[in-house]
């Protein structure tokens, strides 16, 4: 098998025409075989449902399938905007996701800066291993933990709170505490994991910068302010833009699992409503329209944030 090698070699430039998908197909057919399963799966399960979004503009006709029903235009969108649920759903969704973004976004940055200050290697390693761990707990178990630990009569945190005189609040079943409990537990669970990416960015800081700031007599605090934080800025901007793309999407599962009759006025969000209307009550077109509305708003936010980031800092997703 002496080379009928078609690979471009810098030493011996080829006079051939430009390689294209077609004329390299024979050479690369094994590569095509290797990527084919992934293409098929992504096409079927991601792109066909995108095509099915037109359901939001049509009636659902069981006999004619996903895209065969009569065209209704914006009827289902209007039905949603006019429904009595609309204002509450929007308010709840925005409240939960904004609180989550604003409070849980800075937490991993602070944690990373803190961990980065720990000089004792063993302690640092132990702390990292510990703070990453809750990320792997399932949402069901997480909400279960909240239920048993926060229970006002039998939970350990319930006991601690009642010992400082806050005992009678049912943290899981009241409209005032739903969002704080949701956000704080979100931080507890994912802050450590999300700090990894910042720690990785911090580990790429040139050690000479630390040396020279030391020579200049900078205090530890000044070093953080003038060396560490600037090193994190690009990562912060990218992740912030990405998180704004989720401003109207709360995690369905956690909200759904934390819902109960008592906190429903503040815990019904778009995602849980789509599930109830669509999967439970089979109003497919209506819930598809609500879902699409949600996706569009998210994309608009992502796009706008990306524009702002690009204009103001030259760092952007695209």
């Amino acid at each position: 098998m002496i080379s009928k090698n078609l690979y471009e070699h810098p030493a011996q430039p080829r006079a051939h025409k430009k390689p294209t998908v077609l004329n390299t197909f024979k050479r690369d057919h094994q590569l095509w075989i290797m990527i084919f399963p992934a293409i098929v799966v992504i096409f079927i399960f991601n792109y066909i449902p995108m095509y099915g979004i037109q359901l939001a503009f049509r009636d659902y006709d069981f006999s004619k399938g996903l895209t065969g029903g009569a065209w209704r235009g914006l009827f289902y969108f209007r039905q949603f905007f006019d429904s009595y649920m609309f204002a509450d759903l929007m308010k709840n969704t925005v409240a939960i996701s904004l609180a989550t973004v604003i409070l849980s976004f800075p937490a991993p940055i602070i944690l990373a800066l803190l961990i980065n200050q720990v000089r004792w290697k063993r302690a640092k390693k132990t702390l990292q291993t510990t703070v990453y761990l809750p990320h792997f707990i399932s949402i069901v178990v997480m909400v279960g933990l909240l239920n048993v630990l926060l229970s006002p009569n039998s939970g350990v945190i319930g006991h601690i709170l009642s010992s400082v005189g806050l005992g009678d609040v049912n943290l899981l079943g009241s409209t005032g505490t739903f969002v704080p409990v949701y956000v704080l537990s979100e931080i507890w669970q994912h802050c450590g994991w999300n700090s990894i990416i910042y720690l990785a960015a911090l580990s790429t800081v040139d050690p000479q910068l630390y040396d020279s700031s030391k020579i200049d007599g900078a205090s530890r605090w000044q070093t953080i302010k003038h060396v560490d934080i600037p090193a994190l800025i690009p990562t912060i901007i990218i992740l912030f833009v990405l998180s704004m793309g989720n401003v109207l999407s709360t995690g369905f599962e956690k909200v759904f699992l934390m819902q109960n009759a008592l906190n429903l006025p503040v815990s019904e969000v778009i995602a849980t409503y789509v599930y109830k209307i669509g999967i439970i009550s089979n109003q497919f077109s209506y819930s598809a329209a609500i879902g699409l509305f949600n996706t569009v708003i998210n994309f608009v936010f992502l796009y706008a944030m990306n524009m702002i980031a690009r204009k103001s800092s030259d760092i952007s997703l695209w």
């Binding site: 200050q117 990785a200 630390y210 999967i279 879902g291």
Partner: protein, 301 residues
């Protein structure tokens, strides 16, 4: 780093700074470890003492009532074995679909590379949403079968990007050129050279997939109706959140209600441990790859 260890005269503010850093770290450490530790001791302590707040640091009046109740409960074992099957088979399929594709996308000479990458990345920002996806699964007769846990979305684009970046950065391009001179094909090169050099990334995305399957609640909720097919997380939901602790329905109330409720909590603590154990067992072996894995993924998104 050297300068810091070599510096002889640490001034007072630095010592104070260190003290604050270590104190805050200790508080963070405790705030994560204590709740988890409490669940462990509460699961083996007398439930009356737990519910009246007398168990705080050490287990008291050790009792394994919760665990013996769990071992008797058929629902948990059905859920456990279902989830075990979905996790093992699902992770295998995930890796089988993701790794070769990632290798292909890492090859500079592959002409469709940029176009395919773009079509994959688009799915991160756009999707059909719940309802069209649900109706598609229904049309494909995948609802209420085990395959809905395994085939759909078996290529996670984030994991694909992580693996692709790893192959790109750690397998020198010249290596394949040299091997192909000796008649090595892509198949062979992938299996015999690329994969063995990529244990770190295979472990990391393998763990991500494994945990995702183990913790998957959504798929069961949306697509599965039959109790025999329900994964562990759905059973856990029934026990932990819907309070259907005892399969015979003793927790439902009545005169035995209060009495049963007390024991119900002990079962709940035990169930949390039993269901999370497999992940806790795998975790220490793989966590050393985390920093590496995330770093690779962030090199170029």
């Amino acid at each position: 780093m050297q300068l810091i260890t070599n510096s002889k005269g640490k001034n007072k503010t630095d010592i104070l700074f260190d003290a604050v850093v270590y104190l805050v770290c200790l508080l963070i450490f405790l705030s994560i470890v204590y709740p988890l530790y409490f669940v462990i001791i509460a699961s083996v302590s007398d439930s009356t003492l737990v519910s009246t707040g007398q168990v705080t640091i050490f287990p008291k009046n050790i009792s394994f009532f919760g665990y013996s109740e769990i071992f008797k409960d058929a629902r948990i074992w059905t859920g456990y074995s279902n989830t075990l099957l979905y996790t093992v088979l699902g992770t295998a399929v995930n890796l089988l679909f993701t790794l070769p594709a990632a290798y292909v996308l890492s090859r500079q000479e592959f002409r469709a590379r940029r176009f395919l990458m773009l079509t994959f990345v688009i799915t991160l920002f756009f999707n059909g949403g719940l309802i069209p996806t649900y109706l598609l699964m229904k049309d494909m007769h995948m609802t209420n079968t085990m395959w809905v846990f395994i085939i759909p979305f078996c290529v996670n684009v984030y994991n694909l990007i992580i693996a692709r970046s790893f192959f790109e950065n750690s397998i020198p391009r010249e290596l394949f050129e040299a091997a192909s001179m000796d008649g090595c094909t892509h198949f062979k090169f992938f299996l015999k050279v690329a994969l063995p050099l990529s244990k770190a990334v295979v472990s990391v995305i393998g763990l991500y997939y494994l945990v995702a399957h183990w913790n998957d609640f959504f798929t069961g909720l949306i697509y599965i109706r039959s109790n025999n097919l329900q994964p562990l997380q759905i059973v856990l939901r029934d026990i932990l959140l819907s309070n259907q602790v005892f399969s015979q329905g003793a927790g439902a109330g009545g005169s035995a209600g209060g009495y049963a409720q007390q024991y119900a909590d002990q079962v709940k603590y035990g169930v949390i441990i039993v269901s999370t154990l497999p992940i806790l067992i795998v975790y220490p072996f793989i966590q050393k790859y985390f920093d590496k894995g995330v770093m690779i993924g962030s090199v170029k998104g």
